[in-house]
């Protein structure tokens, strides 16, 4: 074995079987290396991007959170981009989660055996489509019908207090936060589906049967036996989907309308941290370039923050349910 450690000091090997120990040591080192690779790569990315983005952090300070992104006047506030990133990812998860959980439940608990496989394959196939293809499809096929839908929704809700602002000023080309959110929802559905499906499959058959034996309907069985058992897995799946949604670049760059701003008009154009990098990096220099790399750092931090928050929420909920149950 190439990874075998050289001869160990006698003190360590004394009284134990050397061959087994060496293999054990070797395995430990290999596994440790694999684990550390991730940390090293993460650290290198963080260090390099932060260093490249430093001029931006230094000149703007807290101004990086303002919503004035105007390269022509050397103003680089990423507030509108952070807002757009969260909004698009939020919309995507909002649409995708019920559909994904529905598909997963259908496959594990409702569908007859022979159509389960085809459904799983089809959903997994969605994950194999490149994001630029989704983006182009959204741009050429989805945007136009959506723009007329947005317009009619906007007209219909013109007198309802909150919806009035939310649906105001729809984009004529259909390029909007909402369009981006919908296309990203389709893209993350296979991810959330496959994880929740795996989690649902681990619910012990005996528990499901016990619930049914107590007279529960199928829905009551799912609510009482499947969901509590799978809560943390569902959250984990959603988090991975959310991470993908926040990092999605090209599809969003094509359909969001490239207008960095904070607005309640979800049918209007906006921009996100990832898509602005794709759109502007090629022509950027000086502080503009630093700011775009900085957007990457901000996105990185934002993703870590959100996934940590989600973990905290889940572990607290689990502890509580374990305490009462």
């Amino acid at each position: 074995m190439a990874t075998e450690a050289p001869a160990l000091p006698a003190s360590l090997t004394k009284g134990r079987r050397p061959a087994g120990l060496i293999a054990d040591r070797g395995f430990r080192v290999v596994a440790l290396l694999a684990g550390l690779t991730v940390l090293v790569i993460l650290a290198l990315i963080a260090i390099y991007t932060t260093r490249e983005a430093w001029p931006w952090f230094r000149t703007e300070g807290l101004g990086i959170f303002s919503d004035n992104w105007d390269p022509a006047h050397q103003q680089f506030g990423a507030g509108g981009l952070i807002y757009g990133t969260l909004l698009v990812a939020g919309v995507a998860v909002l649409f995708s989660l019920p559909i994904s959980v529905g598909i997963a439940l259908f496959v594990t608990d409702v569908a007859p055996e022979r159509i389960r496989r085809p459904i799983v394959y089809t959903v997994d196939l969605l994950a194999a489509i490149p994001s630029v293809v989704y983006g182009l499809w959204a741009l050429f096929v989805l945007a136009e019908p959506l723009s007329s839908l947005f317009q009619s929704l906007s007209d219909a809700t013109a007198s309802i207090p909150i919806l009035k602002t939310l649906f105001a000023n729809p984009s004529a080309s259909g390029k909007s936060f909402m369009t981006a959110g919908i296309i990203v929802a389709i893209m993350i559905t296979p991810i959330i589906t496959s994880i929740t499906r795996e989690v649902f499959a681990t619910v012990p058959q005996s528990q499901k049967e016990a619930a049914l034996a107590l007279g529960a309907t199928r829905w009551e069985m799912i609510r009482g036996a499947v969901f509590p058992h799978s809560r943390s897995g569902m959250v984990a799946g959603t988090m991975i989907g959310l991470g993908r949604a926040m990092g999605e670049t090209i599809a969003i760059a094509l359909v969001i309308g490239s207008s960095p701003r904070i607005t309640a008009n979800i049918f209007g154009p906006g921009d996100t941290l990832a898509s602005i990098i794709a759109n502007q990096f090629g022509e950027a220099s000086g502080e503009h370039r630093a700011a775009l790399i900085g957007c990457g750092v901000v996105l990185f931090a934002l993703t870590i923050l959100i996934s940590m928050a989600a973990r905290a929420v889940v572990s607290r909920a689990d502890r509580r349910s374990a305490g009462t149950g």
Binding site: A72, H73, S171, S258, N279, F281, G282, E283, S285, R289
Partner: protein, 367 residues
């Protein structure tokens, strides 16, 4: 904590391993980049401006037929990327639509570099307005349209530019670039120069457009959106606008004449521009009765000294080709050739490039 204590000492050996791997891989990359090319054959890699890409591809194709042992790759990516790659010595030459900002020029590794203007091209103001075949716009009106002050086509300001024309009350839909671009930089640079009191959005590869405007990806994306929107107007480079059969507005130049975009008008604008010592120049809003005022310049960046003399020879051959046959090929891909005086100056500058085996001692002498 105890776990960390146990792991950390056992990791000390990792440090040299990581360092050595890093050194070996970077060393290998440097060695590969510096490897001398054999027997007069050479490979030149370039990146940058997408504006000059179709021209470069055309010239590279024709050049390759005459010089089969020289391979030239030009990968686009945008002027900003080209300048960055050139600064970092990732490429042998780069294409850019704008000179280095003063602060960045000092950071160019690889020593003295030169600007070679290659061709120029008009940026059209393309529009789609049913029933209107001819449209004239002054810089002030253009500025007001593009910053959203004018909302309909029958606005008094547009009428004043087009006496006697029948203009419908269609809403104006402005289309701009969603990606940052040298075309945006030159278009907004023109408005900045020609309508200084009116234009407020500044000039740059991206400006802060009003949110109710439309954005398109690349010149074709903008052109396509204009084509499909009655009342649409936007800035599109000449060849894409022609390919999409868009209608162009005539733009009022510095001499007060309305001029339609054309290659002749572009060459005229370049010939009137003040050319600096380093061959950079600004053809925007140039004087001259026939000059088309929204004209985009473009340059190839090259170092004065190359450690590999085969590369230097190949690049000189290529640049000389651009100032010879290349100028004749320009119009076939909708670029304007340089005026002869500027092409002459650029050709003279090619002689400054040399392959030096003496100045940088680390590089192996090439055969």
């Amino acid at each position: 904590m105890t776990l960390m204590k146990r792991i950390i000492p056992s990791l000390r050996w990792l440090v040299p391993v990581v360092l050595v791997t890093g050194l070996v891989t970077s060393g290998a990359a440097v060695a590969a980049a510096n490897a001398p090319t054999q027997g007069g054959s050479a490979t030149l890699n370039g990146s940058g401006s997408t504006f000059q890409q179709p021209f470069n591809e055309q010239v590279i194709g024709a050049f390759k037929q005459k010089n089969p042992n020289v391979t030239i790759n030009y990968s686009g990516g945008g002027s900003g990327k080209g300048r960055q790659d050139f600064s970092d010595q990732v490429v042998d030459f780069a294409g850019t639509d704008a000179p280095y900002p003063a602060a960045d020029a000092a950071n160019v590794k690889g020593g003295t570099f030169l600007y070679f203007p290659t061709v120029a091209g008009p940026i059209t103001v393309s529009y789609n307005l049913s029933g209107v075949k001819k449209l004239q716009l002054s810089p002030e009106t253009l500025a007001k349209i593009f910053q959203g002050d004018i909302k309909t086509w029958d606005d008094p300001a547009i009428k004043a530019d087009n006496p006697g024309a029948k203009l419908p009350s269609t809403a104006i839909t402005v289309v701009h670039r969603s990606d940052s671009s040298g075309t945006t930089q030159n278009f907004t640079g023109f408005l900045n120069a020609a309508a200084p009191g009116v234009w407020t959005l500044g000039s740059g590869s991206t400006v802060s457009w009003p949110a109710d405007q439309q954005a398109g990806q690349g010149n074709p994306g903008v052109g396509q959106t204009i084509k499909s929107t009655d009342g649409g107007v936007g800035y599109v480079d000449f060849s894409d606008a022609k390919a999409l059969k868009l209608k162009f507005a005539s733009v009022k130049n510095k001499d007060g004449k309305f001029v339609a975009p054309s290659l002749k008008g572009t060459t005229a604008a370049v010939s009137k521009a003040q050319v600096n010592q380093d061959l950079t120049y600004n053809p925007l809003n140039a004087a001259g009765a026939s000059a088309y005022p929204i004209t985009s310049p473009t340059w190839i960046l090259a170092y004065e000294k190359y450690s590999d003399s085969a590369k230097a020879t190949a690049l000189k051959k290529f640049l000389n080709y651009i100032y010879g046959n290349g100028q004749k090929l320009a119009s076939s891909v909708d670029y304007a050739p340089l005026p002869t005086s500027l092409a002459g100056k650029a050709k003279a500058q090619v002689k400054l490039i040399s392959g030096s085996s003496g100045s940088s001692s680390s590089s192996p002498p090439s055969t």
